[in-house]
Every structure is written in structure tokens, then in C-alpha cells.
Amino acid sequence: MAGGIRRAVIVHAGWFMLGIALLVPILDPLLPLEWKIAGHMNRIFIFAILGLGLNVVTGYTGLLNLGIAAFMAIGAYSYAILTCDIYPFRLGFWSAMPITICIGAIAGVVLGLPTIRLRGDYLAIVTLGFGEIVQDTLKNLDNITQGTQGINPLPAPTFWGHALNTQDKVAWYYLLLAFLALVVLVSRNLEHSRVGRSWIAIREDEIAATCMGVNPVKAKLVAFAMGAALASTSGGIYAALFSNSGEPGNYDFQISIIALCIVIIGGMGNISGVLLGAFVIGGFNSIVLDKLTTLLQQMGMVNTQNVLTVPGNWKYMIFGFALILAMRFKPEGLLPSRQLKAELHEAEEDERAENARGAA
């Protein structure tokens, strides 16, 4: 019976989360000031979209990508250059976003084409190198990208002539939620499409998949393009939300690792898992640490002279332990995809079958 409830929660986890997410702005005004979270949720939605992008490459296709933040940066800067007044394009949100997404996909193909045949760990390092190259290039081309100042101000999305401003918090919230829902829908359909099934086949066993007629180069390229397109979407929305492309340092290796934590700890290859991961990791990153800092400050326990007393300084240690412990004890994540769980626990199941045979 308990198993049935548990399975229901896992199967319908996405719906549960959607229900809670829809209610947040309604419940938020009722909460005392210290417990308000709606403002932080925007960041979590953006991280969730980034995580779903990485999930296509790392979760479905099994290619470890350590430079997903680069595509987020490409998205943010594309959106900024397409919309900001200081450049000749001056598009609005709705016309700039599709172009931003396409630029992201093209960047994904450009990185993917030469590297697709590399083995797993080499590919990981190439993507990491690509991330650093993009970040440094954006920083150094300051006559185009404004260097560390970032490009601003950027236009917000408009609805029938009404532009959202930063005061329309609830409207922003639902807009980002709608984008996230759209990305979830796209991910779901991709997962069950022909190319999605070939991604999973490649992840499980590339040679076997090739023998069954899957073209691994094509499938991996599509995965790279889709992952980059989704990451680029998150970047574009991020820039629109803050009306600023942000500085190149905002898209560093640490963002890539946070996205990786979201996918691995949530559950590789499972959309509900990634959403949960985004909520747990993103929530930890922007809500828990933030609230904890405020709380400790009120108690007078934060001493900026003492590095140990600032909760934010413990962040990397906690992410590091989370990754190590996840790899050691729960490599399939909190909400695993069915296939991955079966694969990672193959040895145990063999053992169980062996024992059963021995008993009989």
C-alpha cells in the first residue's frame, strides 16, 4: 500500500510540483516577511530550464557537458544584442527570443560537430574548455559586449502593448512558469520521439544502438543542439528578467556545476527529477542560504570578518559533498528514470537472481 502511494507520488511528481508552483503567488502574500519565497522562485525556474537543457545532453544521451553555462551566456548576450538600444537590431522580446534560441542551437552544433566522436571524459573537458573560452571572449571583447558591465537596459516582454516592468512580480512569475511548462512539454515530447529514443539507446550502449541502425553522430548532434537551445532560452529569459545581460563572470564554471548537480541529484534523464533537483539545489542556493544569512544576522552570529560565519561561504563544500555522496550512494538521483535505475542496479539484481536460484 505504501508502495502504491510512493509510486503515485513519483509518477505524478510533475503534477504535484505544478500545483504547488501555481499556488505560490497566491499563498505568498499570506506568509510573514521572512518566509516569502515567490521572489526567489524566478531564479529557480531559470535554473530548471537550464537543467532541462543539460538533461537532454547529459541525462538522455549520457554525454557529460561541463560547459552548459556557455550556452546560457550565448543566449543572454544574443538577447541583449538583439534588443538593446545601443545596437542596430532593437527587437522586442517576442521576436528576439526565437532568434536567441536558434543562435543557441547553432552554437551547440558548432561545438558538437568536431567533438562528437570523442570519448566521454575527453568530451567533458572539451565542453569545459569551450565554457571558459566563451566567458573570456565575452569579457575581452568589451567594445561589443561592454565587458564586465553587461549590456543594459533591455526591454521586458510586452502583452498587447503593456510592457511588464519589474513591479509586476506576479506576472513575471507566471510568465516564467509558463516558459518552464513549455520547456517541460518540449522535453517530454523529445524524450518519447524517435530521436529521443535513440538518445537513450546511445546512453545505454552506443555500439548496440549503432548496430540497431541508430546514427550516433546525428543523434548526438541533435542532442547538443537541443540542449544548447534550451540553455540559450534560459539565458535569454534571465537577461530579460534582470534587464541586463549580466557580466561574463555570471556564467562561469560554477553555474555549469550547479546545473550538473541539478540533473544528477534530481535524477538523470527524468523530467520530474530535474524539476525536483532545480527546486532542491536552486532553493538551497537562493532561498535557504539567503534566509539562513538573514536569520543568523538577526541573531548577531554573522561576522563578515570571519569567513566561517557567512553561510554563503559553505556553498561549494556542500555542493561538493552532495556530488560525491550522490555518486557513491544514489547515482540515479532522487527521482530516477526507470531505465537508468535498472542499469545502475544491474549488479545487485543479478546477485539477487543468483541467490534466488541458489535457494531453489
Binding site: L64, G129, L260, Y316, I324
Partner: protein, 320 residues
Amino acid sequence: MTNTEVFLQQMIIGLSNGMIIALIALGYTMVYGIIELINFAHGDLFMLGCFLALTILGALGIDAAYDPNSVSLAVLPLFIAVPAFCAIVNWSVDRFAYRPLRSAPRLAPLVSAIGVSFIFLNLGLFWGGLPMDVFNGGVAAAAPKDFPALVSRTNLLGESSNIIVRWNEVLVAMVTVPMMVGLSLIVRFTRIGKAMRAVAQNQTAARLMGIDVDRVIGATFLIGGALAGFASIVWASYNETIYFQMGFRVGMDAFTAAVLGGIGSLPGAVLGGVVIGIVRAMSEGYIAAEWTNVVVFTILVVVLTFRPSGLLGTPTREKV
């Protein structure tokens, strides 16, 4: 300065930094050669070594105001304590983070290594907040720290020369060259070296021949860690400043060097280290310092993509 002098000066700087990078690259290449793991935390281990070195100097009362001309034997404990510390930490990381994952899917230990790297990074940040004079009394933990020059700054070519060769360059050569020679002697002639080569070739066969594979892998981590420890002392003394994020950058240089030389190949790591050191110095001298990392990463991406076996490596086929 004439063009030739600029070139020679950059060459000397590049060669010295390159020798240090090579020492770190050896740690990457040895571990990769034996268990095919990119030990992502190696650069951050090197960073911790630098912080330990500065702590010991602080405890000995040697700070930035210390006169390096009075070369004191007090710095010798560094060359024992720091490599020993790095060796033990590296061994423990293998024991507790990587060894349980030996039979896991290939990418699991790499993700674990990234986790270790993050923990080290955070420890480096905390370490910089120690209330010691050398760490500015613990204020601004994240800020770069001055590292006192361990040896005299006088120009060995005479004060009138435009090209500067200091005792630091000599120190670098005196530490790195014997390490490399010693390492190749160990790998070629000792029992443990023979066992390491056997495990690198075929773990199962080595185990069947009675080799304790886990012990050999542990020894590899010990040696790699000790090399990183030596590298951290000379790097800090040569560059005179350390900061907690340096592990990532220096580590990527060293990893690029290992890949460029052909990962798994010891002479390749040394060659790659020297090449990367010189490329960095030339890029800083002739292109611009802010593009140097882009140059190094481009080399990394291009080599991995078009010649993954590197300059001296032998092409390997992925086993099915």
C-alpha cells in the same frame, strides 16, 4: 629592451613556469594512465599545498617583509611537510571518494572528482581566513595573499643586464629536474614502478599475477600528490602570490599539458608542461595577458579534438 631580449626573457619565464606545470601534469597523467580518471581535484590539491606552505612560513615568522637575501634553512621544513601533506590528502581522496567507484560507470568518478575539487576550493577559502599575519589577520579571506620570496631576488646576470635570471629560476630547476628524473627511475627500475606499469596495462592480469592493485593505485596517488606538493612550493615562491581559485587555472594548464603531451605518457607530460609554459609566456608577452587563457583552452580543445593521443602518446582504442 631589444626584441631578442624580450623574447629571451619571456622564454626564461615560460620555461620556469613550464617546468612547474610539468610537475603538476605528471600527477594528472600518472593517475589517468593507471585508472583512466581525470583527477579534477589535482589542481586544487596543489592550491592547498600553497596555502600550507604559506601557513608554515607564517608560523616560522617569515612574512613578506622577510629579507630573502639571508637565505635561511628554516624554509627546508616546507620541502618535507608540504609534499607529505599533499601526498596523504591525495591518497585519502582516492581511498574515500574514488576507490568505492572503481566498478561504477566511467563518468561517476569524474563527477566525484569535481565534487572533491569543490570541497578543496571551499577549504582554500576558509584557510585564507586564518587569523595569521601572512593571511592579513584573516580579513578578506578570498583576496590573493602575498607569498614571501624564499630566495634572493638579485639578478644572477649582473645588475646591468636587461634579462633577469634570479635564484628563483635556479630553485625551480633544482626542484623540478631531480623530481622528474627520480620519478622516471622509480617507474622504470623499482618493484612498485613495475607494478604500476603492469596495472596501467591490464588491471585484471596484474591482479592475477599477485599484484595488490588497490595498493599500487594508492601509491600512484601518493607520488602524484607529493609532486604537486613540491610544485606548489616552487610555484608560490616563483610567482609570489597565491589565491584560493588558483587551483582551477593552474590545474587546467597542467591538464592541458598532460593532454598535449599524450595523457598517460610521463615524458609527454614534461614536454607538454614546458610547451604550455612557453605558450603562456609568449602570449602574455606578444598577444595580451587577458587572452592567454583563451589561447591555452583553444590548444586544449584543438588537441583533444584532432589528436586526442597528444604529441607523444600512442593512440588507444576504446575497449568494448
